[in-house]
């Protein structure tokens, strides 16, 4: 298999972005996607972009310009299957860095660089852009607050890592994480589970503060019942993962880095420090 970009070393700078793929999952985001893609192109001209159209029924695919790769799933797979399509694409083409940016406009193109810089600086396998690491303006409903607290506790329990924003879909992954994600990725509500699994497999997960826009679409206001299902499902998955390792056989031994002594956890202070250095 040819890895056209595989020979690159991770390198900070504008030209280093060619090794980076931005994965934009989109399900019926016809109205918000053009703006997202425009911003990404403007801010990160060197990065490649792939839109994963998860079986949209609107004109999502038609608003994707030719300069952007498009994966059109023949039917809706859900966010997990769509994200994995992006990661398998990234893995097949040998990208060293993949960044998830939602097609709904919630994530800001200007913040992507921060994630990439933190990824390179800290040597982490996954960098999560957190809404709550810095005391910012991002507010969430009390129901969501309770859900996050529960999930945070569950993640700490199974992986001993404290994450402030485990449901954030704004993340950057290095080559090792890309390979693992290509091998297996959860179907529903993948974000918290993936973070915990990575840590359990000896990878490093780091959070950096990231500003996010409040939703403009308004469609995804999770109801209380849906929130409970979310927490329950993720909770079950988290505890199941204690007894199974979906990435077994993904070449974890081969992928294991030499820095095994590095702490697998990411404290807020450490993450904040990483961010400071990255600036």
């Amino acid at each position: 298999m040819v890895h056209p970009r595989g020979a690159h070393d991770i390198d900070v700078g504008a030209d280093g972005l060619a090794e980076c793929l931005i994965i934009v999952p989109a399900f019926n985001e016809e109205s918000t996607l053009p703006r997202v893609l425009y911003d990404l192109r403007r801010v990160l001209p060197g990065a490649d972009i792939v839109v994963v159209d998860d079986g949209s029924t609107d004109g999502t695919a038609s608003v994707v310009p030719d300069s952007v790769a498009l994966l059109r799933l023949p039917f809706n797979l859900g966010i997990g299957g769509a994200m994995q399509a992006g990661y398998r694409y990234a893995h097949g083409l040998g990208y060293r860095i993949a960044v998830q940016v939602d097609g709904d406009g919630q994530h800001q193109a200007e913040e992507v660089d921060k994630l990439i810089a933190a990824l390179k600086r800290t040597g982490a396998d996954l960098v999560i852009g957190s809404r709550f690491l810095e005391r910012g303006s991002y507010r969430q409903s009390p129901a969501r607050e309770i859900g996050s607290v529960l999930l945070r506790g569950a993640i700490r329990l199974v992986s001993r890592v404290s994450l402030t924003d485990c449901t954030s879909g704004f993340r950057a992954a290095n080559g090792r994480a890309i390979e693992l994600f290509a091998h297996w990725y959860p179907d529903d509500y993948p974000e918290p589970e993936v973070a915990a699994l990575l840590v359990r497999n000896g990878c490093r997960v780091v959070e950096v503060p990231a500003r996010m826009n409040p939703r403009t679409g308004g469609r995804s206001s999770i109801t209380l019942a849906a929130g409970l299902v979310y927490v329950a499902k993720v909770g079950i998955a988290l505890f199941l993962d204690v007894f199974r390792n979906p990435w077994k056989g993904a070449g974890l031994d081969r992928l294991q880095p030499a820095r095994a002594e590095a702490p697998a956890s990411s404290t807020e202070a450490e993450a904040a420090g990483a961010w400071e250095r990255a600036r």
């Binding site: 298999m1 040819v2 890895h3 056209p4 792939v50 994963v52 030719d66 790769a69 498009l70 994966l71 059109r72 799933l73 023949p74 039917f75 797979l77 299957g81 994995q84 399509a85 398998r88 694409y89 893995h91 097949g92 083409l93 290509a182 179907d187």
Partner: protein, 120 residues
Amino acid sequence: MIRTIVLLTLGVLLLALAFKRLRQRRLKERYVLLFALLGLPFLALGFWPDGVVYLSDLLQIEKPTLLVLALTVFVVLMLLELLTLVSVQDQKLTRLAQDVAMLAERIDRGKAGEPRTDVE
């Protein structure tokens, strides 16, 4: 008498349903065995209603109705087997959908005259 008729009808219906699906090629041959296993006991009991009692004595089960419980367990186990099957198929389908999307993208790139890229 009524019990015999009911059990016979159930058994025949189950087997007939399986046979029909099989003829329509909607059911794979390998699952016919499953239905035979389910349908045949009903048939047998239809012909030999005291079989429940006999079996109960044989297995030293005091209440024959417990055999029904055993049957329920059997059915639930089969349900688990089928759901496992569905899950495996689901994974394959996901993989396939992703492959289709990646291949289509590759073809589009080829048409656009850009250098071909290697997609796994």
